[in-house]
């Protein structure tokens, strides 16, 4: 096991910069997810750590060793690839033992490690099969097994569940969490699926256009997004965002007004916000924090365009008077119907405010949420 330190890492393909000044420290035994949309640089960052890409600048250290320019095989890192990358002509046992045999390990030790990995992943009965004789989930287990047998200091997983169907993905997610709890090895996991990132990771690195947009605990990203990108990217359905104007700004209070707001909204801030009256801002609120109320109580009003009934909850799409559309999540049995005019109330303590540059203005969270954010991810209980 080892910690991973990345300093000022840069990488471009031709004139196109893919990673720009990445600085990260991942703790020993931590499970960290790189999350971001396609093309944000998350896979390039992972491949740079693996030694499959050569960075243009910066350093990568694993524990106390600098590994920036070490060949992949000498980094003591194992990687699980998105498409499994099993050797098609070798049976499972040879797939698992290939790297060990190549490095001159004794047969007894190879057998011990392969059997141990097979027991952990419950693939002992598959050891004599070829990859083409395995299902997607079994192949994924073998790919993970190939990483386990090397007993590396760091696991890298590149979207390992993306080729599995939805049901199997959930099962494998739980198994991965259990595996991390059992091995305690530092793991870095790349995904574009925020559910995977939120459920598996101790901390999540959100990447946007080659820079770290935010690095924090999953709930911190959800409740305290550092900028508009994270606010938009984390949470499903996505956060509702409105262009507003700062009406007034004093110590610890911010008053917002806007074309869509029927009345000004006053928010308590965490210290004096760095903005001036009259400046542009963006107001954000999660759909489940918009409440359908009677006329006169809400800050927003509009026509219900569509109600998506999902059972336990319903998604209500509302077109506001100024033409913008917002979504509210209400309980599944709420009687709202398409074609109705509804009034929506914003819960001030759950609002997020972003300045003109898209950076979040600090807000005081309630004690319960604050405690939840700071709580370390719960380990899987056997």
């Amino acid at each position: 096991m080892a910690s991973l330190h990345i300093e000022d890492l840069r990488k471009g393909f031709g004139a196109l910069p893919v990673l720009r000044q990445i600085d990260l420290t991942i703790g020993d035994g931590e499970f960290v997810c790189f999350l971001g949309p396609s093309g944000c640089g998350k896979s390039t960052l992972l491949r740079s750590i693996a030694g499959l890409e050569t960075p243009d600048g910066g350093t990568i250290r694993l524990g106390s060793r600098e590994i920036t320019h070490l060949p992949s095989a000498r980094r003591n890192i194992a990687m699980v690839f998105q498409n499994y990358a099993l050797y098609p002509h070798m049976d499972v046992r040879r797939n698992l033992s290939f790297g060990l045999a190549l490095n001159g390990m004794k047969r007894d030790e190879i057998r011990r490690r392969v059997d141990n990995a097979a027991d952990i992943l419950r693939i002992r009965e598959l050891l004599d099969r070829k990859p083409r004789q395995l299902s997607g989930g079994q192949r994924q287990r073998v790919a993970i097994g190939r990483a386990i047998v090397r007993e590396p200091e760091l696991f890298l997983l590149d979207e390992p569940l993306s080729n599995l169907d939805a049901g199997l993905r959930v099962t494998m997610r739980v198994e991965l969490a259990a595996l991390h709890a059992r091995l305690g090895t530092t793991m870095v996991y790349v995904t574009h699926d925020q559910v995977e990132a939120m459920t598996l990771a101790d901390r999540v690195v959100v990447l946007d256009k080659g820079v770290v947009s935010q690095f924090g605990a999953p709930l911190e990203l959800f409740y305290r997004p550092a900028n508009l990108f994270v606010a938009r990217f984390i949470g499903s359905p996505a956060m509702n965002l409105f262009d507003v104007t700062v009406a007034s700004c004093d110590a610890a209070r911010l008053e917002l007004a806007g074309p869509g707001l029927m009345k000004p909204l006053t928010l308590d801030m965490d210290g004096t916000p760095a903005c001036a009256a009259g400046s542009a801002a963006t107001l954000g609120i999660r759909p489940d924090k918009l409440e359908i109320v009677t006329a006169g109580e809400g800050e927003l009003a509009g026509l219900v365009q569509l109600v998506e009934r999902l059972g336990t909850e319903s998604h209500v799409h509302v077109r506001l008077e100024d033409g913008r559309t917002v979504m509210a999540v209400v309980r599944g049995t709420h009687p709202v119907r398409a074609g109705e005019t509804v009034h929506l109330k914003l819960s001030p303590q759950h609002c997020h405010v972003f300045d003109a540059a898209g950076q979040a203005l600090p807000r005081q969270l309630d004690a319960e949420t604050e405690a939840l954010i700071n709580q370390r991810k719960g380990r899987l209980v056997a």
Binding site: A50, G51, L52, P71, S72, A73, I77, A78, M79, F81, Q82, N83, A85, L86, Y87, P88, H89, F98, G99, L102, N103, R146, R150
Partner: protein
């Protein structure tokens, strides 16, 4: 009905292709009287299978067979290894000028053998290889453009992640070629091996130019000895030709599954 017509047409075509083989075989086993009879005899009155042994023993065909075997086996091994290695290089290494070099390699396919014949003779003469089997073997260890192209297509169908996984497992570039790609492109290698085997086995011009001494002759040159300006020993030519057809035919039947897979695969993949 449509199927019957189709099958009849195909059978007719197959017979058309088999006819020259059958005629050669018939000429080998006919008596001299039957051989020159007109109209031709399609089912001889006597079958002289002893013609095969007699023809074989007229000239030192054991020596010719040994020479052909040495040339074919060694050059096929060379062709398979060198073409696959070069193909691996073009498919997996990134280096400046790679694509231009590959196009240049493909362009060499357009140079006819006749153009290369005299320079090659001069080169091999300069290094003292004339009247040895080396000119027929050694060039095969420097890859063939067409085979390189074909095997490169095979390699490019293998996901790059497999190479990367092997690299993370500690494999060198040669390990990746030898332990991963070579087994994976087995159908392609069999295809290349079979094609090259047939070319080398049937090669007449190469041995004719580079070999002088009868003790170095290959089977094709030996066969030509039955023909001289005054006479042609038709029975012997037909008997040896029939025997010469057997190894490529046997190889094709053994390897036909791979050849068809390989030919179709390289056509539709990559």
């Amino acid at each position: 009905m449509r199927k019957l017509l189709l099958h009849s047409a195909l059978t007719l075509l197959a017979l058309l292709f088999i006819l020259p083989f059958y005629w050669t075989f018939l000429s080998a086993v006919k008596s001299t009287a039957d051989l020159y009879q007109f109209p031709p005899v399609f089912w001889p009155s006597e079958w002289h299978f002893e013609n095969f042994a007699a023809s074989w023993n007229k000239l030192p065909f054991n020596t010719f067979l040994w020479n052909s075997t040495v040339v074919v086996v060694l050059s096929t091994i060379g062709q398979v290894l060198s073409s696959s290695l070069v193909a691996f290089g073009f498919a997996r290494f990134r280096f400046p000028g790679r694509d231009a070099l590959f196009i240049l390699l493909l362009a060499t396919m357009m140079i006819p053998w006749d153009v290369k014949m005299i320079p090659l003779y001069m080169e091999f003469n300069y290094i003292g290889w004339i009247n040895t089997l080396k000119p027929l073997i050694v060039p095969s260890y420097f890859a063939d453009a067409f085979f390189v192209f074909m095997l490169r297509q095979f390699i490019m169908t293998v996901p790059l992640e497999i190479d990367e996984a092997a690299r993370m497992d500690g494999a060198s570039s040669f390990d990746i070629y030898w332990r991963i790609h070579l087994p994976l492109m087995l159908p392609g290698l069999i295809l290349v091996g079979t094609f090259h085997f047939m070319n080398a086995w049937n090669d007449y011009l190469g041995p004719l130019i580079f070999l002088n001494d009868q003790s170095k002759y290959t089977l094709t040159l030996g066969l030509a000895l039955f023909k001289n300006p005054h006479d042609v020993d038709i029975t012997a030519v037909a008997a040896i030709t029939t025997l010469l057809c057997l190894p490529p035919l046997a190889l094709f039947f053994v390897a036909q599954r791979y050849i068809m897979d390989g030919a179709v695969g390289s056509a539709v993949k990559g």
